[in-house]
Subunit: 182 residues, 2 copies
């Protein structure tokens, strides 16, 4: 059986991209995600949007504006949209079941925020033995108390490249390189 | 039943503390870990050392010098020493089973490296619903290509404080505060 690949697009929601919470290179990241998603659809590979539901903490409540996906993201009726409630998109969600159903073992990971939900989901996927490709310039975050957003992104990209493989491996690749290999 | 607390001391092994891989404030971190461990033992609470086995990658091979725990660490015959093979100390290890056996739900986490095994283990513990206390000045790492060790430590301490709780909660506390509450 051919190992199937899926594109994960994590938490690209309006509430994370406000004037008060600017993210590094949002326009570029969205453009790259749209291009990747299009290539996945053409290849009949799953495109999965993860949408955070923060009802418990009265933030990112379903059907509010901050919960909505960014208008600039292309969403196709055949794409999957899955809800999550923790940083890790696998936690108490349908994600693992869906990936098993779709026979996916390879994940291409994009989204926001690098140091929260992207990182937590990558850590979780790795110990679930998925092969992971992080799109180096396909995830973003904001400035932190002691670091600029670019520094955070650099640190996590470097760290992911240096993690110990499980039964799955983890790689960090530039958007162009990922796009070519789908 | 009273919720039991355990102290996790991750990868404080000679191979991670060489002249070529200096770590931030090693002496202070070891001193704090020793003090915490002593308090846990007095309270009849488990002290668990995690020791990385990198045989598969020909590094940190059991019974070599780099695999050994630091000489400066106090290890008691009643302490547990558990082996791991990935960044996440729970991955294919006896840790979860042991914690269940010991009826532990609260983890106090220390060790090395902040951005690798400490982080991966924290992420994993949180989605396993443990309550986590990270000792703010009880973990360490080295300088990274784009950041000083102190900056990495600051970023992760800040990030952990801001994670979304699962059924477990996550806190970052100074050594003195943790010591007082055991």
């Amino acid at each position: 059986m051919k190992i199937r690949k899926a594109l994960l697009i994590i938490d690209m929601q309006k509430g994370s991209f406000t004037d008060k919470t600017p993210r590094f290179d949002t326009t570029g990241v969205v453009k790259r995600i749209n291009a990747l998603a299009q290539k996945f659809r053409v290849g009949e590979l799953p495109v999965i949007f993860i949408q955070h539901d923060g009802s418990k903490w009265k933030a990112f409540v379903p059907n509010t504006s901050e919960w909505e996906l960014l208008d600039e993201l292309d969403v196709n009726p055949n794409d999957l949209i899955l809800s999550k409630t923790a940083n890790d998109a696998f936690y108490n969600s349908a994600l693992e079941f869906k990936l098993r159903e779709l026979e996916v073992k390879d994940l291409v990971i994009t989204g926001c925020a690098t140091d929260f939900c992207v990182e937590a989901t990558i850590q979780s996927a790795l110990v679930k033995n998925y092969n992971i490709t992080v799109v180096k310039n396909g995830h973003t975050t904001g400035d932190r108390p002691h670091l600029k957003a670019e520094q955070v992104i650099e640190q996590y990209n470097w760290m992911w490249q240096n993690m110990i493989p499980t039964e799955g491996k983890i790689e960090v690749k530039d958007f162009e390189e990922v796009l070519m290999c789908i």
